[in-house]
Every structure is written in C-alpha cells, then in structure tokens.
Symmetry: C2
Subunit: 213 residues, 2 copies
C-alpha cells in the first residue's frame, strides 16, 4: 500500500498512533470533506481561507474568481501553503473530564499551488468539483460559457507531503474510574444533507431531480 | 451594536456584502462551531492545527497537553496566529454551473495566544469547553485532579481583529437563465448529533443521562 513520506513537517509526534500516511486513507478523508482551510504566510503573518476543493489523482484543486485577491496572490507568489481538512465524527464522553475527547478524521497537506492552464484539466476540475457538491448535477446544468471559464481561476497542488490523524472508538478512562457510576460513551455527529428548498423563482413545472431525492 | 475594527488583515474585499464585523454575529458563529483551525508561521512556512475551542467574553480558548509540541511553541513564541471557523449550511444549486455556490458562515480571527496562568480562568475555560462539547456534562463527571490540571495547558487569545463572512438564501442566476428548464434551489446541510453509543465497558446499571436523550 502506497504512503506519503514522513517529513519534518508531517511527522505526528503527539499521539503518534493516531497518525497515518497511507494515501488511500488521506484520499478518503479528502473525498468526503466539502470544505478545506488553506493557510499561507505573509511576512510571517498567517492568513486562512476556508474554501471548497476537490481531488483528482494526487492533486488538490481549488477555484475562485480571477478577481480574488488571495487567488491572485497564490498564483503569482508560488509560495508554500498548508491545507487542512477536518471531519468531526463524535463527542467522546469519558467518566473523567480529563479523558473527554472527540472522534475525528483530519488531514494536513503541504505544497505549493500553481495555476492550471491546460483547459482539459481545468474543465475536468470544475466538473469533479460540481459533482462533489452534488452528485448527478453536472449533466443537468448550463455549462460555462467562454467568458465564464475566463472569469474562473483554478489552482492545483500536487500532494507531496500529507498526513492524516484519526481517533475512533469509545472513551479511554483511567483504570480506577471504570467503577464510577458515570455514564460514558460516544455521541456521534454527522454532516447530513437535508430535503432541498426550491428557489422561489423556480418555474412551476420543474420537478426535483432524482439525484436530489 | 458593537463591531470589530476593519483592518488591513480583516477587510473583506471580495463579495464585501457578505462580510460582517459585528461582534454578536462573530460570537454566534464561534459558539455554534465545535472545531476551529489554528494557523501559524515558521520562517514563512504555514502550519495548521485543527482543534476544539470555546469562547468566553471576547476571548477564545484552546487547550492541549503540556507535552504538545505546538502548544509549547505557541506558549513560548508569542507569535501571531490566525484562527478560522467554518459552518457549512447548504449547497447552492444554480441553473448555471458558474453560479453554483455554498451557504456558509465563517469567521477569521487574528491575534496572539497567551498562556492562561490564573486558575479561576483555567477552570472556567475547561468547564465551558466541556459544556460546549456536551451541554449538561460538567456536573456529571469526575473533575480533574491536581495532576490532571497540571498536565493541561490552556491558551487564551483576545479577539482584536475578526471578521465574519456569510452567504444565505437561494441561488442567483443570470437573468436569461431563469427561463431554462433546470431545477434550482438549496440543499441544506447540517452537523447533527445522533443517538449515543454506550461505552462497551459501561457498568450495566447506568442509564443514559437526560441531557443526552
């Protein structure tokens, strides 16, 4: 099974047993998450941008307007960024306050974004991005015009350094606390998709598509 | 109504109408979110840590082990950090690919974390943190021992520079696209708490507490 190299930046030193460098593990977290956080530095001042993203192969893609300040900065400065993704899976309720925790799957990636200029790659990234937001959507909608493509900037980043950190399972209490009369367990949390809300301006004869039911 | 100052770092230039500097708006997003992402720089290389947090007044609190590398770094270096929080509210499905968007509420905060040494503030932060994870939990659990308090590091950060960015409502399509026979609307998403899973090691006579039902 293929793994990312363990580097100075990605080595997990704290609770190392929760760490993973396995590519399939990292990819599965990336593919489930709808949003990431991108961080960059300017004179050692950190900035963060929450943004949508998608993965194709070993690359991450983000997009934005060609007028976006940070997209232009990232395009022009070819600077190192850090991207993180966190999926929250549950509240871990131990008998002791000290051993309360959360179940989660997170990924941290390091790399340098670059402008996507190949139109085939650009089109594919936007299609995958849209399909991730809503599987089945791309075939249904009005495709971008030439002008819309020109107004959209797509940046890609090869995933060279990445690690995942995962906690699963029940709480772990101190041995002597298992005898206490305190309830313990996990309260799962999950990001769920709900029943759709039609646009108030929707034409009256348009049914909800099957991929949204 | 009280607002955060608009600064070079927090001014929202892209889609400025989605921006807010209102303290109550920022606080309400912070109080709903269970996890944040903290970014810092080291020789202009950005790093990110996903972590739980809570807010008391105009301060954000994070905590970790006194053995945690990044907690020690933050404690010792008194360096600028950026904290971001994103709540995803829905997929905005427009008639055109170009106008697809997401509904969200995000906050970006800039500041310098410092070690909490006052024990009253420390105890309060951990209680608020636990209550945020699971309202009603603090009264029920074994409180930290002296040794556990000593093993826990809490950092606080005064919220001096902060902005929120929010998108709500239906898609906005180009005028000529409203006539297309394409379904449009919003698919809401929501992080939901599910039915609890008792610890397999739970004593058999302990019922699920009322605050978890």
């Amino acid at each position: 099974m293929s793994s990312f190299p363990i580097t100075d930046k990605t080595e997990i030193t704290r609770l190392a047993k929760r760490g993973s460098y396995d590519k399939e593990t990292v990819y599965s977290i990336l593919d489930e998450a709808l949003v990431c956080t991108l961080a960059y530095c300017k004179d050692n001042q950190p900035f963060q941008i929450p943004t949508g993203f998608c993965r194709i192969g070993n690359k991450i893609y983000i997009h934005g307007s060609v007028g976006s300040f940070y997209m232009r900065e990232l395009r022009d400065k070819k600077q190192p960024v850090c991207i993180s993704i966190t999926l929250l899976d549950g509240m871990v309720l131990a008998r002791s306050a000290f051993h309360h925790s959360v179940n989660y799957r997170s990924v941290v990636i390091f790399g340098v974004p670059e402008l996507v200029t190949d139109t085939t790659e650009l089109y594919q990234a936007l299609e995958v991005f849209t399909e991730k937001m809503c599987p089945g959507r791309w075939a249904d909608i009005r495709k971008p015009t030439e002008g819309e493509w020109k107004a959209t900037m797509v940046l890609s980043m090869e995933i060279k350094e990445a690690s995942a950190k995962i906690r699963v399972g029940p709480p772990k209490d101190d041995e002597e606390d298992y005898d206490l009369n305190i309830w313990a367990g996990v309260q799962p949390v999950k990001l769920e998709r709900k029943a759709v809300i039609p646009d108030p301006a929707l034409k009256s004869d348009i049914a909800i598509p099957s991929y949204l039911l």
